[in-house]
């Protein structure tokens, strides 16, 4: 077959794939809206906790100053005061029962200390058992205290805030900013690996793949024709997720959009190769779906650092996380979006993904050919 005919054959195949995708309106709608829904849902799931911070106040000797400080918290919409007590003894049971998120401990004699200009001590205790929200809550409480302090008459800066995180599960900052890169990875994994695996195994199950393999189409044309439309869809998803993250949560975007799209394409290719491989090794759509669920979606969620920081995983899982493409991709996206990192900083991760893609593609094409052996 001459080159123009090869391209024509490939084009005919891609058009067919597009028709499959466009005709299945329900799946298409879900796939297109998925990034939007995920960003909004995940984002708000984190945010709602932070909007309703349950505060316990320990005020041993109430005076004008302590009441003014307490009023600051009452007036702030984010805090709900769940307990006011005179001693710190009440805090332990409150935290243990999960009835308070943050505790403010005011040392006795605050008004006098402020009047004398002697150091006054405030202690903030935060329950960081949910690492995603702990730091954020502490930051908010600190901000309220600073506002109160700034409004004090004169330049009385003698107040020391002593932050104390009660359960130090995860000291790193985890917030919606860190979540969005993970969501992009998740959506891309779904659209590329899972959808390719399903669509290819459907051809296998229905017997149409045999017809294609008997035709002059070569394995690479079938694979390329299969994945090209999903690559387009993946692109649309990345852009949707970015726009949603910015519009709804003002997640910053500091780096190069071009680099991000290039990295996303690379990651999408890894996912597509993985999808082809899964389809080649499974016999039915159902198995392919389960296979891609366990083989791609679960590790992309749990072992990628998206939800649980890699460093907090047990070491065998840390080792396994190295072969999860999403782990590397999330580092890239976080680097680009939040730190404005460039290729210089991210070349290692990009290299890892490139190697993964090459290996997976080679194995995928081999498994395709294996049918002929």
């Amino acid at each position: 077959m001459r080159a123009p005919e090869r391209i024509q054959a490939l084009a005919a195949f891609v058009i067919k794939e597009m028709r499959h995708i466009l005709r299945d309106r329900q799946t298409l709608t879900i796939l297109l809206l998925l990034p939007l829904a995920q960003v909004v849902l995940f984002g708000f799931a984190i945010r709602t906790d932070v909007n309703d911070i349950r505060l316990a106040i320990v005020d041993a000797a109430p005076d004008d100053a302590t009441l003014a400080l307490r009023a600051r918290f009452t007036g702030n919409g984010r805090f709900r005061i769940v307990a006011t007590a005179a001693t710190v003894d009440v805090l332990e049971p409150l935290f243990r029962r999960g009835e308070a998120d943050v505790a403010l401990v005011i040392a006795p004699g605050l008004a006098r200390a402020l009047a004398d200009g002697t150091p006054a001590r405030l202690q903030l205790i935060t329950d960081a058992s949910n690492p995603n929200t702990g730091t954020t809550m502490q930051t908010y409480a600190g901000a309220v205290i600073r506002t109160w302090q700034a409004a004090l008459p004169g330049a009385r800066q003698g107040v020391t805030i002593e932050p104390q995180v009660r359960m130090l599960f995860n000291p790193t900052l985890e917030s919606v900013n860190l979540f969005v890169p993970g969501l992009i990875a998740l959506v891309l994994t779904l659209v590329t690996a899972q959808m390719t695996a399903i669509s290819l195994s459907r051809e296998k199950e229905r017997g149409t793949l045999e017809i294609l393999l008997v035709s002059p189409l070569r394995p690479w044309q079938i694979i390329l024709g299969k994945v090209a439309p999903y690559l387009l869809l993946a692109f649309a998803n990345v852009v949707t997720a970015l726009v949603a993250a910015w519009v709804v949560f003002r997640v910053p975007f500091r780096g190069s959009l071009l680099l991000l799209l290039a990295a996303s394409t690379l990651y999408a290719l890894v996912g597509l190769a993985l999808g082809v491989l899964i389809a080649a090794r499974t016999e039915s759509q159902r198995t392919a779906m389960m296979g891609s669920m366990i083989g791609t979606m679960l590790p992309s969620t749990l072992l990628s650092g998206m939800i649980f920081p890699i460093a907090s995983l047990p070491w065998p899982l840390q080792l396994v996380s190295n072969i999860v493409p999403a782990r590397w991709f999330i580092v890239i996206v976080r680097g680009i979006m939040l730190k404005g990192a460039g290729v210089v900083h991210l070349w290692q991760e990009l290299l890892v993904l490139t190697v993964m893609f090459t290996v997976l593609l080679a194995v995928a094409i081999r498994s395709f050919r294996a049918r002929l052996a």
Partner: protein, 246 residues
């Protein structure tokens, strides 16, 4: 006699199991060759080797003048294939299916349109050309499927149980299409479980346990076994096999 299919001592093993055991078959150009055998006799494996989906373990096979193992690309251009599972895309229309296969086989757009229109007219389904294939009755689908397999005018067409599940009238029409294709010079290699269909073939072979137990024209086979129908020939040959295979 020019040969469309030339099989020499072809064997295909899966591990220790020999699915196709040293078979040799010659099929002449323009012949309608029936490839019979009980379920599990090795027909589908043999067809898969001939169309290049499986490599032979030993022996050789030439289809349309080319070796299936070393010249598979040349073979693929010259053959059509209709599997026992339905070969068209359900979520595409007949016309879209035609466009797809025409494109894959490198036909020009104008050619695809002309042949497609002619085909849809011949089948009398022009009025559903733009309806989804999934909405068509099975008989129409099967006939369309065969026509699409013939779209690029292959030298040899392989039909693996093409008439499974269709009504007798449609089966008859289907066989008329097969004869028409053979009359245009296409060699037809067909498997079936309907013994009346076997009678329509120019020649046939009956496979038992991976081997070809009998081969010849329907009349010669019936004479050889002294029976009045291919059905009886088949049952005689297949019965000992089922007894030993359990």
């Amino acid at each position: 006699m020019t040969l469309a299919i030339e099989v020499r001592d072809l064997t295909r093993r899966f591990g220790s199991f020999t699915a196709v055991d040293s078979i040799s078959v010659d099929v002449a150009v323009g012949e309608v060759f029936g490839f019979l055998g009980a379920n599990g006799a090795g027909k589908t494996t043999a067809i898969k080797v001939l169309i290049g989906l499986l490599a032979p373990s030993s022996g050789s096979a030439r289809v349309a003048g080319f070796d299936v193992l070393t010249q598979s690309e040349e073979v693929r251009k010259r053959i059509g294939y209709m599997s026992q599972r339905f070969s068209l895309y359900d979520d595409l229309t007949p016309r879209e299916n035609i466009t797809l296969y025409g494109g894959i086989y490198g036909l020009a757009d104008a050619e695809i349109r002309a042949r497609g229109d002619a085909m849809l007219n011949d089948l009398g389904i022009m009025h559903v050309a733009d309806k989804l294939v999934s909405t068509l009755p099975l008989g129409w689908k099967q006939k369309l499927s065969f026509s699409v397999a013939m779209l690029h005018r292959p030298d040899v067409v392989f039909l693996d149980e093409p008439t499974g599940g269709v009504d007798p009238v449609t089966r008859r029409q289907f066989w008329e299409m097969i004869y028409a294709a053979a009359a245009r010079g296409t060699t037809v290699f067909v498997t079936t479980h309907y013994m009346d269909e076997a009678e329509y073939c120019d020649r046939l072979s009956i496979m038992v346990d991976g081997r070809i137990a009998a081969m010849g024209t329907p009349a010669a086979l019936k004479a050889e076994f002294g029976v009045s129908s291919i059905d009886e020939v088949f049952v005689r040959l297949a019965r000992p096999a089922t007894a030993t295979a359990g």
